[in-house]
Protein backbone atom coordinates (compact mmCIF):
# COMPACT_ATOMS: atom_id res chain seq x y z
CA UNK A 1 0.00 0.00 0.00
CA UNK A 2 1.15 3.54 -0.73
CA UNK A 3 2.73 5.74 1.91
CA UNK A 4 1.49 9.26 2.44
CA UNK A 5 3.63 12.22 3.49
CA UNK A 6 2.23 14.65 6.09
CA UNK A 7 1.91 17.25 3.32
CA UNK A 8 -0.67 15.00 1.63
CA UNK A 9 -2.74 14.51 4.79
CA UNK A 10 -6.36 15.49 4.43
CA UNK A 11 -9.53 14.81 6.31
CA UNK A 12 -10.98 11.38 5.58
CA UNK A 13 -7.61 9.90 4.49
CA UNK A 14 -7.12 6.36 5.80
CA UNK A 15 -3.81 5.40 7.45
CA UNK A 16 -2.47 2.37 9.30
CA UNK A 17 -1.53 3.20 12.89
CA UNK A 18 -0.78 0.63 15.56
CA UNK A 19 -1.83 -2.05 13.08
CA UNK A 20 -5.36 -0.69 12.70
CA UNK A 21 -6.87 1.35 9.87
CA UNK A 22 -7.61 4.91 11.01
CA UNK A 23 -9.38 7.82 9.34
CA UNK A 24 -8.07 11.41 9.65
CA UNK A 25 -10.59 13.67 11.40
CA UNK A 26 -8.45 16.81 11.58
CA UNK A 27 -4.90 17.85 10.74
CA UNK A 28 -3.29 20.93 12.27
CA UNK A 29 0.12 22.14 11.09
CA UNK A 30 2.34 23.99 13.58
CA UNK A 31 5.45 25.86 12.41
CA UNK A 32 7.45 27.57 15.13
CA UNK A 33 9.50 30.64 14.16
CA UNK A 34 12.62 28.60 14.81
CA UNK A 35 12.37 24.88 14.44
CA UNK A 36 10.81 22.01 12.60
CA UNK A 37 7.15 22.06 11.60
CA UNK A 38 4.90 19.32 12.94
CA UNK A 39 1.41 18.01 12.32
CA UNK A 40 -1.05 17.29 15.09
CA UNK A 41 -3.54 14.79 13.73
CA UNK A 42 -6.81 13.52 15.18
CA UNK A 43 -7.82 10.10 13.89
CA UNK A 44 -10.61 7.63 14.35
CA UNK A 45 -9.57 4.02 14.74
CA UNK A 46 -11.97 2.25 12.36
CA UNK A 47 -11.76 -1.03 14.28
CA UNK A 48 -12.20 0.15 17.86
CA UNK A 49 -14.09 3.35 17.04
CA UNK A 50 -11.83 5.25 19.42
CA UNK A 51 -10.47 8.72 18.65
CA UNK A 52 -6.73 9.18 18.99
CA UNK A 53 -4.33 12.07 18.63
CA UNK A 54 -0.89 11.67 17.07
CA UNK A 55 1.92 14.09 16.35
CA UNK A 56 4.09 13.71 13.27
CA UNK A 57 7.07 15.74 12.17
CA UNK A 58 6.39 17.38 8.84
CA UNK A 59 7.63 15.32 5.94
CA UNK A 60 7.20 12.00 7.75
CA UNK A 61 5.44 9.26 5.77
CA UNK A 62 2.75 6.92 7.04
CA UNK A 63 1.39 3.78 5.43
CA UNK A 64 -2.01 4.20 3.84
CA UNK A 65 -4.84 1.78 4.64
CA UNK A 66 -6.76 0.08 1.85
CA UNK A 67 -10.15 1.13 3.12
CA UNK A 68 -13.25 1.47 0.95
CA UNK A 69 -16.69 2.65 1.84
CA UNK A 70 -19.39 1.03 -0.29
CA UNK A 71 -23.15 1.56 -0.40
CA UNK A 72 -24.75 -1.83 0.24
CA UNK A 73 -28.23 -3.14 0.76
CA UNK A 74 -28.96 -4.97 4.01
CA UNK A 75 -30.49 -8.34 3.17
CA UNK A 76 -31.04 -10.46 6.28
CA UNK A 77 -29.57 -11.72 9.54
CA UNK A 78 -29.12 -15.48 9.73
CA UNK A 79 -28.67 -15.57 13.48
CA UNK A 80 -24.88 -15.16 13.66
CA UNK A 81 -24.06 -13.09 10.61
CA UNK A 82 -25.49 -10.04 8.95
CA UNK A 83 -25.69 -10.21 5.18
CA UNK A 84 -25.29 -7.32 2.75
CA UNK A 85 -25.19 -6.98 -1.02
CA UNK A 86 -23.30 -4.56 -3.23
CA UNK A 87 -26.08 -3.54 -5.68
CA UNK A 88 -23.53 -2.82 -8.43
CA UNK A 89 -21.67 -6.13 -8.40
CA UNK A 90 -24.38 -8.20 -6.66
CA UNK A 91 -21.56 -9.49 -4.50
CA UNK A 92 -22.67 -10.49 -1.01
CA UNK A 93 -20.77 -9.82 2.21
CA UNK A 94 -21.33 -11.40 5.62
CA UNK A 95 -20.45 -9.42 8.70
CA UNK A 96 -20.21 -11.03 12.10
CA UNK A 97 -21.98 -9.70 15.13
CA UNK A 98 -18.98 -8.02 16.76
CA UNK A 99 -18.27 -5.71 13.83
CA UNK A 100 -21.88 -4.58 13.75
CA UNK A 101 -21.69 -2.52 16.93
CA UNK A 102 -24.63 -0.13 17.40
CA UNK A 103 -25.65 -0.47 13.76
CA UNK A 104 -27.73 -3.57 14.39
CA UNK A 105 -30.40 -1.61 16.23
CA UNK A 106 -31.21 0.34 13.08
CA UNK A 107 -31.05 -2.20 10.28
CA UNK A 108 -34.21 -2.67 8.30
CA UNK A 109 -34.20 -5.22 5.50
CA UNK A 110 -33.68 -3.66 2.05
CA UNK A 111 -32.28 -0.40 3.55
CA UNK A 112 -29.07 0.99 2.04
CA UNK A 113 -26.10 1.23 4.46
CA UNK A 114 -22.46 2.20 4.13
CA UNK A 115 -20.18 -0.79 4.66
CA UNK A 116 -16.50 -0.10 5.31
CA UNK A 117 -14.10 -2.66 3.86
CA UNK A 118 -10.47 -3.00 4.91
CA UNK A 119 -8.37 -5.13 2.58
CA UNK A 120 -11.65 -6.38 1.14
CA UNK A 121 -13.22 -7.48 4.45
CA UNK A 122 -16.05 -5.58 6.14
CA UNK A 123 -15.04 -3.87 9.40
CA UNK A 124 -18.01 -1.64 10.12
CA UNK A 125 -21.50 -0.67 9.02
CA UNK A 126 -23.07 2.78 9.10
CA UNK A 127 -26.87 2.75 8.86
CA UNK A 128 -28.75 5.56 7.05
CA UNK A 129 -29.08 8.77 9.12
CA UNK A 130 -32.82 8.18 9.49
CA UNK A 131 -34.70 4.88 9.56
CA UNK A 132 -38.37 3.98 9.97
CA UNK A 133 -38.90 1.56 12.86
CA UNK A 134 -42.01 -0.06 14.34
CA UNK A 135 -42.87 0.41 18.00
CA UNK A 136 -43.34 -3.04 19.52
CA UNK A 137 -43.59 -2.08 23.17
CA UNK A 138 -44.34 1.11 25.10
CA UNK A 139 -46.68 2.37 27.85
CA UNK A 140 -50.22 3.27 26.71
CA UNK A 141 -50.51 6.61 24.92
CA UNK A 142 -52.13 9.74 26.33
CA UNK A 143 -54.66 11.55 24.14
CA UNK A 144 -54.05 15.22 23.46
CA UNK A 145 -50.42 15.15 24.38
CA UNK A 146 -48.06 17.03 22.07
CA UNK A 147 -44.37 16.58 21.54
CA UNK A 148 -42.08 18.52 23.85
CA UNK A 149 -43.57 17.53 27.22
CA UNK A 150 -41.04 14.87 28.02
CA UNK A 151 -41.56 11.39 26.69
CA UNK A 152 -41.43 7.69 27.39
CA UNK A 153 -39.19 4.81 26.35
CA UNK A 154 -40.35 2.68 23.44
CA UNK A 155 -38.85 -0.57 22.20
CA UNK A 156 -38.54 -0.86 18.42
CA UNK A 157 -38.84 -3.97 16.24
CA UNK A 158 -35.04 -4.00 15.95
CA UNK A 159 -34.62 -4.12 19.73
CA UNK A 160 -33.34 -0.58 20.20
CA UNK A 161 -35.05 1.61 22.84
CA UNK A 162 -35.88 5.19 21.86
CA UNK A 163 -37.43 8.02 23.88
CA UNK A 164 -40.72 8.91 22.09
CA UNK A 165 -43.54 11.43 22.76
CA UNK A 166 -46.35 10.22 25.04
CA UNK A 167 -48.93 9.99 22.21
CA UNK A 168 -47.05 7.24 20.37
CA UNK A 169 -48.61 3.78 20.72
CA UNK A 170 -47.64 0.21 19.92
CA UNK A 171 -47.72 -0.68 16.22
CA UNK A 172 -46.89 2.83 14.98
CA UNK A 173 -44.01 3.50 12.61
CA UNK A 174 -41.62 6.21 13.83
CA UNK A 175 -38.61 7.91 12.28
CA UNK A 176 -35.38 7.57 14.32
CA UNK A 177 -32.14 9.49 13.91
CA UNK A 178 -29.49 6.75 14.02
CA UNK A 179 -26.65 9.15 14.93
CA UNK A 180 -28.29 10.35 18.15
CA UNK A 181 -30.85 7.56 18.79
CA UNK A 182 -33.56 10.24 18.93
CA UNK A 183 -37.18 10.25 17.80
CA UNK A 184 -37.44 12.35 14.64
CA UNK A 185 -41.16 12.23 13.74
CA UNK A 186 -43.85 9.91 12.54
CA UNK A 187 -43.49 10.13 8.77
Amino acid sequence: MAHYSTSQFKNGMKLILGGNPCSIISNEIRKPGKGQASNKVKLKDLITGKTLEKTFKSGESVEGADVMELDMQYLYNDGSEWNFMDPNSFEQYSINDSAMDDAKGYLVEQDMCVVTLWNGSPISVTPPNHVMLEVVDTDPGLKGDTAGTGGKPATMNTGVVVQVPLFISIGEMVKVDTRTNEYAGRT
Partner: protein, 296 residues
Amino acid sequence: MTSLYNFSLKQKAEIFRKIRAFFDSKNVLEVQTPHLLNHPTTDVYIDSISMQVNKDFDIQSKYLHTSPELEMKKLLANGSGDIYQICHVFRDNEQGSQNFNEFTMLEYYRLGFDIHQLMIDMSDLFSVLGLTQETTKLTYAQAFSTFTDIDILNSDFNTLKKIANSYDLCTDFEWIEDLQILMFTDLVEPKLVQYPLCFVYDYPAEQSALARVEGRVAKRFELYLSGVEVANGYDELQYAREYQQVFAQENQQRSKLGKTTFSQNLDFFQQLKNPLPQCAGVSIGIDRLISQINQI
Protein backbone atom coordinates in the same frame (compact mmCIF):
# COMPACT_ATOMS: atom_id res chain seq x y z
CA MET B 1 -12.11 47.19 4.13
CA THR B 2 -10.66 44.34 6.10
CA SER B 3 -7.92 41.89 5.30
CA LEU B 4 -7.46 38.28 6.21
CA TYR B 5 -6.39 39.39 9.68
CA ASN B 6 -9.47 41.53 10.17
CA PHE B 7 -7.78 44.85 10.67
CA SER B 8 -8.32 47.94 8.61
CA LEU B 9 -5.74 49.74 6.51
CA LYS B 10 -6.22 52.78 8.73
CA GLN B 11 -5.46 50.80 11.84
CA LYS B 12 -2.30 49.33 10.37
CA ALA B 13 -1.14 52.84 9.36
CA GLU B 14 -1.94 54.10 12.87
CA ILE B 15 0.11 51.28 14.42
CA PHE B 16 3.05 52.14 12.16
CA ARG B 17 2.76 55.83 13.17
CA LYS B 18 2.83 54.86 16.84
CA ILE B 19 5.79 52.52 16.38
CA ARG B 20 7.74 55.25 14.56
CA ALA B 21 6.87 57.86 17.23
CA PHE B 22 7.98 55.42 19.95
CA PHE B 23 11.39 54.83 18.36
CA ASP B 24 11.77 58.54 17.48
CA SER B 25 11.32 59.41 21.13
CA LYS B 26 14.11 56.98 22.02
CA ASN B 27 16.46 58.10 19.24
CA VAL B 28 16.34 54.74 17.50
CA LEU B 29 17.03 55.28 13.80
CA GLU B 30 14.75 53.88 11.11
CA VAL B 31 16.73 52.04 8.41
CA GLN B 32 16.04 50.16 5.21
CA THR B 33 18.23 47.31 4.07
CA PRO B 34 18.23 45.37 0.78
CA HIS B 35 15.49 42.74 0.42
CA LEU B 36 17.15 41.05 -2.55
CA LEU B 37 20.28 39.29 -1.33
CA ASN B 38 23.18 37.29 -2.78
CA HIS B 39 23.00 34.73 0.02
CA PRO B 40 20.04 32.72 1.29
CA THR B 41 19.47 32.06 4.98
CA THR B 42 21.21 28.99 6.41
CA ASP B 43 18.55 28.55 9.11
CA VAL B 44 17.75 24.83 9.16
CA TYR B 45 13.96 25.17 9.08
CA ILE B 46 13.55 28.44 7.18
CA ASP B 47 13.88 28.48 3.41
CA SER B 48 14.64 31.51 1.23
CA ILE B 49 12.68 32.19 -1.92
CA SER B 50 15.22 32.15 -4.75
CA MET B 51 15.04 33.76 -8.16
CA GLN B 52 17.05 34.36 -11.30
CA VAL B 53 17.71 37.98 -12.24
CA ASN B 54 19.50 39.50 -15.23
CA LYS B 55 22.11 42.22 -14.89
CA ASP B 56 24.27 43.30 -17.83
CA PHE B 57 23.07 40.18 -19.69
CA ASP B 58 24.35 38.06 -16.86
CA ILE B 59 22.06 35.64 -15.04
CA GLN B 60 22.46 35.71 -11.26
CA SER B 61 20.77 33.84 -8.42
CA LYS B 62 19.23 36.12 -5.83
CA TYR B 63 17.26 35.44 -2.67
CA LEU B 64 14.50 37.42 -0.98
CA HIS B 65 15.40 38.11 2.64
CA THR B 66 13.70 35.91 5.25
CA SER B 67 14.55 38.52 7.90
CA PRO B 68 16.57 41.77 7.76
CA GLU B 69 18.79 40.47 10.59
CA LEU B 70 22.18 40.03 8.88
CA GLU B 71 21.90 43.21 6.81
CA MET B 72 21.06 45.21 9.93
CA LYS B 73 23.94 43.61 11.79
CA LYS B 74 26.30 44.88 9.10
CA LEU B 75 25.06 48.39 9.93
CA LEU B 76 25.48 47.77 13.69
CA ALA B 77 29.05 46.57 13.19
CA ASN B 78 29.75 49.72 11.20
CA GLY B 79 28.60 52.10 13.90
CA SER B 80 24.92 52.76 13.10
CA GLY B 81 23.87 52.85 16.76
CA ASP B 82 20.30 51.84 17.75
CA ILE B 83 18.26 50.93 14.66
CA TYR B 84 14.85 49.58 13.66
CA GLN B 85 13.23 48.49 10.44
CA ILE B 86 9.68 47.74 9.36
CA CYS B 87 9.67 45.59 6.25
CA HIS B 88 8.09 42.66 4.47
CA VAL B 89 9.97 39.37 4.68
CA PHE B 90 9.57 36.29 2.49
CA ARG B 91 9.81 32.61 3.30
CA ASP B 92 9.40 29.52 1.17
CA ASN B 93 7.68 26.29 2.27
CA GLU B 94 5.56 27.91 4.96
CA GLN B 95 2.63 25.84 6.19
CA GLY B 96 -0.16 26.28 8.67
CA SER B 97 -3.01 28.67 9.27
CA GLN B 98 -0.79 31.30 10.96
CA ASN B 99 2.10 31.14 8.49
CA PHE B 100 2.46 32.98 5.20
CA ASN B 101 5.08 33.29 2.49
CA GLU B 102 5.14 37.06 3.00
CA PHE B 103 4.56 38.96 6.21
CA THR B 104 5.41 42.23 7.93
CA MET B 105 8.26 42.30 10.41
CA LEU B 106 9.51 44.89 12.86
CA GLU B 107 13.14 44.24 13.73
CA TYR B 108 15.09 46.38 16.18
CA TYR B 109 18.39 46.50 18.06
CA ARG B 110 19.30 48.37 21.25
CA LEU B 111 22.96 48.88 22.13
CA GLY B 112 24.04 48.06 25.67
CA PHE B 113 20.75 46.23 26.37
CA ASP B 114 20.45 42.64 27.50
CA ILE B 115 17.32 40.58 26.79
CA HIS B 116 15.69 41.63 30.08
CA GLN B 117 16.06 45.33 29.32
CA LEU B 118 14.79 44.66 25.82
CA MET B 119 11.70 42.86 27.18
CA ILE B 120 10.91 45.90 29.35
CA ASP B 121 11.40 48.16 26.33
CA MET B 122 9.02 45.97 24.29
CA SER B 123 6.39 46.09 27.04
CA ASP B 124 6.61 49.92 26.82
CA LEU B 125 6.14 49.73 23.06
CA PHE B 126 3.18 47.37 23.42
CA SER B 127 1.43 49.59 25.95
CA VAL B 128 1.76 52.47 23.44
CA LEU B 129 0.08 50.16 20.93
CA GLY B 130 -2.79 49.37 23.29
CA LEU B 131 -1.56 46.15 24.92
CA THR B 132 -1.59 47.23 28.54
CA GLN B 133 -2.22 43.82 30.11
CA GLU B 134 -0.01 42.37 32.78
CA THR B 135 3.22 40.85 31.49
CA THR B 136 4.28 37.36 32.58
CA LYS B 137 7.89 36.15 32.42
CA LEU B 138 8.77 32.46 32.52
CA THR B 139 12.08 30.77 31.84
CA TYR B 140 11.86 27.94 29.31
CA ALA B 141 12.51 25.50 32.17
CA GLN B 142 9.81 27.11 34.35
CA ALA B 143 7.31 26.95 31.49
CA PHE B 144 7.92 23.19 31.33
CA SER B 145 7.89 22.64 35.10
CA THR B 146 4.71 24.72 35.51
CA PHE B 147 2.68 22.75 32.99
CA THR B 148 4.39 19.33 32.92
CA ASP B 149 6.77 17.44 35.21
CA ILE B 150 9.55 17.56 32.65
CA ASP B 151 12.96 18.87 33.69
CA ILE B 152 13.77 20.13 30.20
CA LEU B 153 17.31 21.43 30.81
CA ASN B 154 18.49 18.26 32.55
CA SER B 155 16.91 15.61 30.32
CA ASP B 156 19.09 14.03 27.67
CA PHE B 157 17.85 12.94 24.24
CA ASN B 158 16.96 9.39 25.31
CA THR B 159 15.12 10.52 28.44
CA LEU B 160 13.14 13.04 26.39
CA LYS B 161 12.30 10.37 23.80
CA LYS B 162 10.87 8.15 26.53
CA ILE B 163 8.79 11.01 27.91
CA ALA B 164 7.62 12.01 24.44
CA ASN B 165 6.58 8.43 23.78
CA SER B 166 4.41 8.45 26.87
CA TYR B 167 2.61 11.48 25.41
CA ASP B 168 2.26 9.70 22.04
CA LEU B 169 4.46 12.31 20.36
CA CYS B 170 6.75 11.65 17.40
CA THR B 171 10.32 10.93 18.56
CA ASP B 172 12.02 10.28 15.24
CA PHE B 173 14.37 13.29 15.32
CA GLU B 174 18.05 13.75 14.49
CA TRP B 175 18.68 16.33 17.19
CA ILE B 176 17.48 16.94 20.73
CA GLU B 177 16.41 20.53 19.98
CA ASP B 178 13.78 19.33 17.51
CA LEU B 179 12.23 17.15 20.19
CA GLN B 180 12.40 19.96 22.78
CA ILE B 181 10.60 22.23 20.31
CA LEU B 182 7.92 19.63 19.54
CA MET B 183 7.32 19.05 23.26
CA PHE B 184 7.09 22.80 23.83
CA THR B 185 4.64 23.17 20.94
CA ASP B 186 2.46 20.32 22.15
CA LEU B 187 2.66 20.40 25.92
CA VAL B 188 3.42 24.02 26.85
CA GLU B 189 2.23 26.37 24.10
CA PRO B 190 -1.48 25.49 24.45
CA LYS B 191 -1.26 26.49 28.15
CA LEU B 192 0.19 29.92 27.33
CA VAL B 193 -3.24 30.95 25.96
CA GLN B 194 -4.08 32.09 29.51
CA TYR B 195 -1.43 34.84 29.44
CA PRO B 196 -2.18 37.99 27.40
CA LEU B 197 1.55 38.78 27.27
CA CYS B 198 4.09 36.13 28.16
CA PHE B 199 7.85 36.22 27.64
CA VAL B 200 9.57 32.83 27.65
CA TYR B 201 13.34 33.21 28.04
CA ASP B 202 16.60 31.32 28.65
CA TYR B 203 16.21 28.60 26.02
CA PRO B 204 18.23 25.35 26.14
CA ALA B 205 21.72 25.96 24.70
CA GLU B 206 20.92 23.58 21.81
CA GLN B 207 18.39 26.14 20.58
CA SER B 208 20.82 29.07 20.75
CA ALA B 209 20.47 30.09 17.06
CA LEU B 210 22.27 33.47 16.96
CA ALA B 211 22.00 34.15 20.70
CA ARG B 212 24.76 34.23 23.30
CA VAL B 213 25.09 31.04 25.37
CA GLU B 214 25.63 31.15 29.13
CA GLY B 215 26.16 27.71 30.66
CA ARG B 216 23.11 25.52 29.94
CA VAL B 217 21.01 28.31 28.48
CA ALA B 218 20.92 30.58 25.45
CA LYS B 219 20.06 34.20 26.23
CA ARG B 220 17.04 34.18 23.98
CA PHE B 221 13.35 34.89 24.41
CA GLU B 222 10.10 34.50 22.59
CA LEU B 223 6.95 36.50 23.18
CA TYR B 224 3.56 34.79 23.25
CA LEU B 225 0.38 36.87 23.04
CA SER B 226 -2.49 34.66 24.25
CA GLY B 227 -0.53 31.60 23.15
CA VAL B 228 0.49 32.92 19.72
CA GLU B 229 4.21 33.29 19.04
CA VAL B 230 4.81 36.90 18.03
CA ALA B 231 8.46 37.81 18.68
CA ASN B 232 11.90 36.28 18.97
CA GLY B 233 14.83 38.10 20.61
CA TYR B 234 18.50 37.53 21.41
CA ASP B 235 21.48 38.78 23.30
CA GLU B 236 23.34 39.05 20.02
CA LEU B 237 26.54 37.26 19.11
CA GLN B 238 29.23 39.85 18.44
CA TYR B 239 32.07 38.19 16.57
CA ALA B 240 32.34 37.04 12.94
CA ARG B 241 33.84 33.71 14.01
CA GLU B 242 30.81 32.97 16.22
CA TYR B 243 28.49 33.56 13.27
CA GLN B 244 30.76 31.46 11.05
CA GLN B 245 30.43 28.57 13.49
CA VAL B 246 26.63 28.76 13.63
CA PHE B 247 26.25 29.00 9.85
CA ALA B 248 28.62 26.05 9.32
CA GLN B 249 26.65 23.94 11.79
CA GLU B 250 23.32 24.92 10.21
CA ASN B 251 24.69 23.99 6.79
CA GLN B 252 25.73 20.58 8.14
CA GLN B 253 22.28 20.03 9.58
CA ARG B 254 20.64 21.08 6.31
CA SER B 255 22.84 18.62 4.46
CA LYS B 256 21.86 15.81 6.84
CA LEU B 257 18.19 16.56 6.18
CA GLY B 258 18.81 16.48 2.42
CA LYS B 259 18.25 20.24 2.04
CA THR B 260 20.33 22.55 -0.15
CA THR B 261 23.48 23.92 1.47
CA PHE B 262 25.05 27.27 0.74
CA SER B 263 28.44 28.89 0.23
CA GLN B 264 29.85 31.13 2.95
CA ASN B 265 28.46 34.64 3.20
CA LEU B 266 31.93 36.21 2.99
CA ASP B 267 30.56 39.71 2.60
CA PHE B 268 28.84 39.43 5.98
CA PHE B 269 32.02 38.24 7.73
CA GLN B 270 34.02 41.07 6.13
CA GLN B 271 31.52 43.64 7.33
CA LEU B 272 31.89 42.20 10.83
CA LYS B 273 35.66 42.86 10.88
CA ASN B 274 34.77 45.10 13.78
CA PRO B 275 32.58 43.09 16.12
CA LEU B 276 28.98 44.05 16.80
CA PRO B 277 28.62 46.30 19.82
CA GLN B 278 27.08 44.45 22.75
CA CYS B 279 23.37 44.63 22.01
CA ALA B 280 20.04 42.86 22.12
CA GLY B 281 17.69 42.57 19.17
CA VAL B 282 14.23 41.27 18.43
CA SER B 283 11.98 40.57 15.48
CA ILE B 284 8.24 41.05 15.88
CA GLY B 285 5.55 39.71 13.55
CA ILE B 286 3.40 42.78 12.99
CA ASP B 287 0.41 41.05 11.39
CA ARG B 288 0.08 38.61 14.28
CA LEU B 289 0.61 41.47 16.75
CA ILE B 290 -2.23 43.54 15.26
CA SER B 291 -4.58 40.58 15.12
CA GLN B 292 -3.88 39.97 18.83
CA ILE B 293 -4.45 43.66 19.67
CA ASN B 294 -7.84 43.35 17.97
CA GLN B 295 -8.81 40.24 19.89
CA ILE B 296 -8.26 41.80 23.30
